[in-house]
Every structure is written in structure tokens, then in C-alpha cells.
């Protein structure tokens, strides 16, 4: 009986999700972008995490003129499909509409050395680590059984791949837990020296700017736009990626 109830509720939820998906596409094509956002977000609120879904939400937000939320959802989609050409094209376009010039540029040498981090999705990196790990230990076992020197070179290659991707994957777990990035949502927001509204305005950010969240306290976040530009912002004015 319990199983039947679970199955029924699951089927009903799947129907709602499908309905929301079809309606979202319909509203988008009819240029009713706010309604399209609402429908697509119903799917996300149902617990579905999917890069393509986040991409669609971002598209609808961008068409609706909400640059902040568009960049936020594109960034969220990027975690699931960093290699997707459509996503990268649209994100680049959305970034071109952001008023603030990014100042915290990533070190190009690190980008080259750790190119795979932005090339593969998290799931892909995890599976590469697992498969190379399996390969390495499999080859090691065969070498032990058959005492064959020919297996040594493939085993070393698998070991290198396994170490690189395992460490990358573990760093991504660390990044997910401890390194928070966010996107500014309002068209214009003041970054202040303290938590109160009368604190000194340090600088102004506009919608779509990406910031790093250092600390959260009393409904406010201390954010870092660059090494020199740090300040407090209302937590409601940013969306965590």
C-alpha cells in the first residue's frame, strides 16, 4: 500500500514536471518570459538539478531583462555542463551586458595547468578518476599475478591520470563546501563598510557581477569583488551559485 502511494505520488510529480516543461517552452516562444521562468523554476523546485534546465531558466531571465538572475542561472548550469557550447555562448553574451568590469582575473598559467577543471563536468571528472583508479589497480594485480613487465608503463599512466583527477575531484568537494561564489541581483547595489544601512558606501556593483562570499552574518554577506574591493551586502541582493 505504501509502495503504491509512493509510486502514485511519484507519477503525479513527473506529470507536473512534464506539464511545467511544456508550458515553459510555450510561454518562452510566446515571449511571455516571466511566465516561462515561473514554469521552469517549478521543475527546479521539484528537486531536479540539471544543467539544461538551469540554462533554460537563465535564457528566460535574460529575455525578460533580468541580467543578474540570468548570469546566476548560467553559472549554476556551468557546474553541470561546462563544455556546452550553447551555454558558453549565451553566458558570454550575458556577461557583455554586465556593467562592471571584472577585476579578479584568474591566473592564466593556472588555467592552462588545470585546464581539465573547466573542460569536464564534475560528474565526468569523478568518473575519470574512478575508471583510472580501477585501471591502475587492475593492472597492478595482473602484473602481480603474471609478473609481466609490459604492464608497468600502462599502470604508471593510469596512476598519473588517477592522481590528477582524484585530486581535482576532491578539490571540487572542498570548493563546494567552503568556497562560495555569488552573483549580484539588483540593477545597482551599494557595498558598504558594515552591516547597517548608514555604513559608508565603499563601491557600487551592478546586476550580473560575480563575487566571492567570504562570510555570512546577520542576513548580510561579506563579499570580495577583487583583492582590493571587499565589503558587506544584504544577503537578499545576491544569489549563491
Amino acid at each position: 500500500m505504501v509502495l503504491l502511494t509512493v509510486l502514485c505520488s511519484s507519477a503525479a510529480r513527473a506529470g507536473e514536471v512534464s506539464h511545467a516543461f511544456v508550458d515553459g517552452i510555450k510561454f518562452y516562444n510566446e515571449k511571455q518570459y516571466a511566465l516561462a521562468v515561473a514554469e521552469f523554476k517549478k521543475i527546479a523546485n521539484a528537486g531536479i538539478r540539471n544543467g539544461k534546465l538551469f540554462y533554460n531558466i537563465a535564457n528566460a531571465y535574460l529575455k525578460d531583462g533580468d541580467i543578474g538572475n540570468a548570469v546566476l542561472w548560467y553559472q549554476r548550469a556551468l557546474r553541470y555542463m561546462p563544455e556546452d557550447p550553447d551555454l558558453n555562448f549565451n553566458l558570454q553574451y550575458a556577461r557583455s551586458l554586465v556593467k562592471d568590469q571584472p577585476e579578479d582575473r584568474q591566473n592564466p598559467i593556472l588555467q592552462i595547468l588545470f585546464f581539465w577543471k573547466d573542460m569536464f563536468s564534475r560528474t565526468a571528472i569523478q568518473w575519470i578518476a574512478l575508471v583510472s583508479n580501477l585501471l591502475f589497480w587492475g593492472l597492478t594485480a595482473l602484473k602481480r599475478i603474471y609478473r609481466s613487465g609490459a604492464l608497468k608503463l600502462p599502470a604508471v599512466a593510469a596512476l598519473i591520470v588517477m592522481i590528477v583527477f582524484t585530486l581535482t575531484s576532491l578539490y571540487q568537494f572542498y570548493e563546494e563546501k567552503y568556497v562560495k561564489f555569488a552573483v549580484v541581483l539588483p540593477a545597482k547595489v551599494s557595498i558598504r563598510s558594515g552591516l547597517t544601512p548608514d555604513s559608508t558606501e565603499l563601491f557600487v556593483l551592478h546586476s550580473g557581477s560575480k563575487v566571492r562570499v567570504d562570510k555570512q552574518q546577520s542576513g548580510h554577506c561579506r563579499i570580495r569583488f577583487s583583492d582590493e574591493k571587499i565589503g558587506w551586502i544584504d544577503a537578499d541582493d545576491i544569489g549563491l551559485i
Partner: protein
């Protein structure tokens, strides 16, 4: 008060008074709200002052319910009175009301909000009569006028609204409240003009402000009065002062409000376009010209076609003309270039559209005339703008290495194109993703599962290794024989055993070491067999002979009945141990 202090600070009594006034509580009680006007009968070109007084508290006055008059706020003042230690405070709101039409009107009760309660003033009736016999302009010291350059324009035709302030006496603090210009796109001309005018023999300073108005819709539009408030200098004995009075300090300033008359503008819709030529959307007076940068180019090269619209009117609204390029040309648009002036006559200037024409084959070509129509306000009709046909010749390229020759059929000559950087001609985002997998959950593996999956192959590998080690140790004769050699050697080391047993252990230890060396099992060997056995197993001759000799010595002692003292036993044991060690060392 100390006389010394008073002498040192002559302003001290005033400061103390002020502090006392601020500290003494203002008399509490219900708010007393009063409203009155300075005149209850005015003519259409006059204004009246409305004063709202709030006593016994503070509040805010809402004047939005006055609809029959234009309301201009003149600010707020506060008066504090102390009578027999009783402090009362009165706040006065002042307004200037300008009538809009003739009739009898009521200023409605004005709501005053104070401490969450609403108080109301009493209604006041005012009668507005026809304009009284004006003084001739030349007899007035200050007055304002407004006019439009054309009171019957077409939709899209620009007209000029001019506000003029005439003053023959000194004025200051002038503030203008311009009309709303409903139904028009209005833009103020930045530079106001100041000049002198002679009216009825009297010299006036004139300040003129201009607004360019472009009607948006057709119909009868009313432009409300413009209201100017300023401080005017008057003589002490009444009447306005001359500009020289202020210089000599012979007058005082009073605030006055002046308003212009409302203006009516009748806007006509544009007549229907003839339709045979596309309407450019331009209203005004315009010309059109087109020219080529070069009329002879090499195939693969480009030339620029410039189409220039020029004139007075909404030149900025002209859209890019459609150009029919001859076959054999590719057309690339450039951003239009605008040079637009704005003054009291409105917008004027020119807008240039440039297109790069790239010849893809040789030959003589003609660019068809560009035709567009506009509405000419001078002649009140549509007129057609047309460029002359332009001749263009594409010759073979001088340098055949630069262009890329595109392969075509044999019948056609090869087409030649230069490589060009591809530019965006429009910007938009790519479309939605509509695959069904949008609705599937793509979860990221949790850390614990990831670590467990990493450890499983490692553990399996370790298991295999252990199995190998265990399996090998149980079946390997080499290991078994070596273990037996060690065991017998250890037994032989025991001093409590007798000689026979000692020699038996040495024999077994040596034989076991020999078998271990050759990787086989066995119990006994003669010293001749040992030599041959070891040599066949790859041992050196020296080692084989050493082993054979030692075995011979042991057998001789074992079966020959030779007595051995403890030192001889130790020496033989040492030789045997060393040999076994050498045999096990590969």
C-alpha cells in the same frame, strides 16, 4: 546673570532664550487648522494667496484636492510665541493659486495629517471674473508671455514653444514651472537667450526659454500656463523700483507669481502615403544623395556606397534604406553616422548610411536608384527623394595571390573573394534546450560514495596480493625446503643433543638447502649427487664442490664413528650455516 559673562558674551541672553524655548514643552492639545485667502474675488489673469496655519502641533497639508486652480507652493514658515511661560508654535503653509477659467469655485477642505489623525480646513469660495482691463504691456514692470511657432502642425512636425520674461525692474530668485506638454515630445533648448526689447517706448530686459515640441498624436492639444515666481524689488512707498533703486538700496523685495496664458495647438494627422514609394518616416524638409567611393574596383575588392539624408526635421528617425545591389556583389552594412544639431528651430543635420559592396565577379554594373518619400511641411504633401543610378565596374584583380578563388563549374569564370573577418550582424542568445533529459536529475556523486568506489579496487588488489603470497607459501618447494633447512640448523645449534643427532640435523639441513636451491623436494642425496645436482641447477663449480665436500665430511663423521669435541661441533656447524647461507643467496 553674571555681569562679567554678559559683557564678554553679548549674545548670551539670546542663546539662553532659545534654549529655554526649545526645552519648554509646546502646549499640547488638539491641532488647530485654519485656512484663509487674501482675496475672494480675482480676475483670470491674477492669482491669490492661500495660507494654511497649523497651531498646537505639527502636520502635513495635502493640497492635491484643489483642481480648479494651478497650485504653486511658496514654502513653509514656523512661528513660536511665549506668553506668560506658555509656548505656542504655529506652522504656516503658503500657496499661490492661479485660476484656470472663469466662474465661482470652492477650495475644498484640505486634509491635514497629524499623529495619525486627519484634520480639515474649512471650504473657501472664490470667484474668478473675466480678465480685468489690462494695463498695456508698456505700463507693466514685469510680465511673462508664451507662444508657439506654429499652432497647427502635423504629427511629427517640430514646433517651438517660447517662454519670455519681460522685466523693467530688478528681479531675483526666479523659478519657472514649465507646462507638462502632454501629447508632445518636448526638449528644452539648452541655451536661454537674453536681449533687450522696446515696448511702448519702455525698455525691457527679456529672457527667452525655448522648447522644441514634436506632436505625438493628432487632435486639439492644450499647453497649460507656465508659472514663474520671483522676488521683485518695489519702492518703500509702493510701486515697483527701478533697477537703480536696488543699487542705492532704495527698495524692498516681495515675492510675486506670474503666469502665461494657456495655448491651444491643433495637431493634424499626416495624410495617407501614396504607397508606390516607401515612406521614410521623415517629416520636415530633406534631401537625399548617394555616392560611391570608387566606381572602378578589382574583383574581390570592395567600395563604399554612402547614402546621405540631410535636412531639417526628425532626421534621426530615418531608417536604413533598402539597397538593391546588382548580382555579383555582396553587401555589408556599417553603423550609420549622425551629425545632428539641435536649436530653437528643432533638429537638423545629416545621417549617413554606408555599405561596403564587394565584387564577386568582373563586369559593369548599375546600382538601382534609391527611392523614399517624406512629408514636406512647407508644401504639406509627400515628396519623393531619389538618387541617380550609379555605375560601377569590376576589373580583374592585379594581385591574384591574395584573393581566394572559389571553384565553380567550367562554364562560369572563377569567382574571387577576399577573406573578411566575420562580424556579428545581430546579437541574441541561442535557443532553449528542449530535449526530454532536461527533466532528469543529474546528481553529483557524494564524497563518501566517491571514496568508497576509489577504495574498492585497491582492496581487491590487496586481496589478490595476499592470496598470491599465501598460495605461494603453501605450494612452493623452494620455500618449504628452505624452511626445513632453517629448522634443522636451529635444532643442530642446541648443545643438549648428542653427536649422532647433531650430525643428522646438519645432514638434513644441508640436503634441504640444496633442494631449496634447485626448487625441488627430496630427502637424501650422496655427496656426488650434490655436486652434479647443484651444477645442473646453475650453481658455480666452487659452491657445488664446497657443498659436496662438506656433505662428505658430515657423512664421514656420521657413519665413521669419529669423536668430536664441542669446538669441532661448533666449527662444523659454522661451516654448514655459512654454506647454507651461500646457497640461499642467489
Amino acid at each position: 546673570m553674571d555681569a562679567y559673562l554678559l559683557k564678554k558674551n553679548p549674545g548670551l541672553p539670546a542663546i539662553v532664550m532659545l534654549v529655554v524655548m526649545l526645552m519648554v514643552p509646546v502646549s499640547a492639545g488638539a491641532l488647530d487648522v485654519q485656512a484663509h485667502v487674501d482675496r475672494s474675488r480675482i480676475s483670470l489673469n491674477e492669482s491669490l494667496n492661500l495660507t494654511v496655519s497649523l497651531s498646537g502641533g505639527e502636520g502635513t497639508v495635502d493640497s492635491s484636492s484643489i483642481v480648479d486652480f494651478q497650485v504653486v507652493s511658496r514654502g513653509t514658515s514656523t512661528r513660536v510665541q511665549i506668553v506668560n511661560s506658555h509656548v505656542s508654535k504655529t506652522t504656516v503653509y503658503q500657496y499661490v493659486l492661479i485660476p484656470q477659467k472663469v466662474g465661482k469655485f470652492t477650495i475644498p477642505p484640505l486634509p491635514v495629517m497629524s499623529g495619525g489623525h486627519a484634520y480639515h480646513t474649512r471650504p473657501i469660495t472664490v470667484e474668478v471674473t473675466q480678465t480685468s482691463v489690462n494695463k498695456a504691456d508698456g505700463n507693466r514692470d514685469v510680465f511673462v508671455t508664451a507662444e508657439v511657432s506654429n499652432d497647427s502642425p502635423y504629427v511629427g512636425q517640430q514646433i517651438c514653444y517660447s517662454f519670455r520674461l519681460y522685466h523693467a525692474v530688478s528681479i531675483s530668485n526666479a523659478r519657472l514651472q514649465k507646462p507638462e506638454f502632454s501629447g508632445f515630445n518636448a526638449k528644452e533648448v539648452d541655451d536661454s537667450r537674453t536681449y533687450n526689447a522696446d515696448i511702448s517706448g519702455r525698455s525691457y530686459n527679456v529672457t527667452e526659454l525655448d522648447y522644441v515640441l514634436i506632436p505625438i498624436t493628432s487632435g486639439r492639444m492644450t499647453i497649460g500656463p507656465a508659472v514663474l515666481s520671483c522676488d521683485v524689488q518695489i519702492r518703500q512707498g509702493g510701486g515697483y523700483a527701478s533697477p537703480f533703486d536696488s543699487f542705492f538700496g532704495g527698495g524692498q523685495r516681495v515675492q510675486r507669481v506670474f503666469s502665461t496664458n494657456s495655448l491651444t495647438v491643433t495637431v493634424s494627422a499626416l495624410p495617407d502615403s501614396p504607397g508606390n514609394v516607401p515612406f521614410s518616416g521623415l517629416v520636415g524638409e530633406f534631401s537625399l544623395d548617394a555616392s560611391l567611393e570608387s566606381d572602378t574596383i578589382a574583383a574581390g575588392d570592395s567600395t563604399t556606397l554612402a547614402v546621405v539624408f540631410q535636412g531639417t526635421g526628425n532626421i534621426m528617425d530615418v531608417e536604413e534604406p533598402r539597397i538593391q545591389a546588382p548580382e555579383g556583389f555582396k553587401v555589408y552594412s556599417d553603423s550609420p553616422e549622425e551629425h545632428i544639431n539641435f536649436d530653437s528651430r528643432g533638429y537638423s543635420g545629416k545621417k549617413t548610411f554606408r555599405k561596403a559592396l564587394v565584387a564577386t565577379k568582373e563586369g559593369a554594373f548599375t546600382i538601382a536608384p534609391i527611392r523614399m518619400s517624406y512629408f514636406d511641411i512647407g508644401e504639406r504633401t509627400y515628396k519623393i527623394l531619389e538618387t541617380p543610378p550609379l555605375k560601377l565596374k569590376a576589373v580583374p584583380p592585379a594581385d591574384a595571390e591574395m584573393p581566394i578563388i572559389m571553384e565553380t563549374s567550367e562554364a562560369e569564370p572563377p569567382r574571387i573573394l577576399k577573406k573578411k573577418k566575420v562580424e556579428f550582424t545581430g546579437r541574441d542568445i541561442l535557443s532553449l534546450k528542449t530535449e526530454p533529459d532536461v527533466m532528469t536529475h543529474s546528481s553529483v556523486m557524494p564524497l563518501t560514495r566517491f571514496v568508497v568506489l576509489l577504495l574498492i579496487p585497491f582492496l581487491i588488489c590487496v586481496g589478490i596480493h595476499v592470496a598470491c603470497v599465501v598460495g605461494k607459501s603453501s605450494n612452493d618447494p623452494q620455500r618449504e625446503m628452505a624452511e626445513r633447512a632453517r629448522r634443522n640448523l636451529r635444532q643442530a645449534s642446541d648443545a643438549r643433543i648428542d653427536l649422532k643427532e647433531f650430525l643428522g640435523c646438519l645432514y638434513k639441513a644441508l640436503i634441504s638447502a640444496v633442494y631449496s636451491r634447485t626448487g625441488s623436494r627430496g630427502e637424501s642425496l650422496t655427496y656426488q649427487e650434490v655436486d652434479a645436482f647443484l651444477k645442473s641447477g646453475g650453481c658455480s663449480d666452487t659452491l657445488s664442490e664446497r657443498a659436496s665436500r662438506l656433505l662428505k665430511d658430515i657423512e664421514f663423521a656420521r657413519y665413521g664413528g669419529t669423536e668430536m669435541d664441542a669446538a669441532a661441533r661448533t666449527k662444523l656447524l659454522g661451516k654448514t650455516r655459512q654454506l647454507i647461507r651461500d646457497l640461499q643467496r642467489r
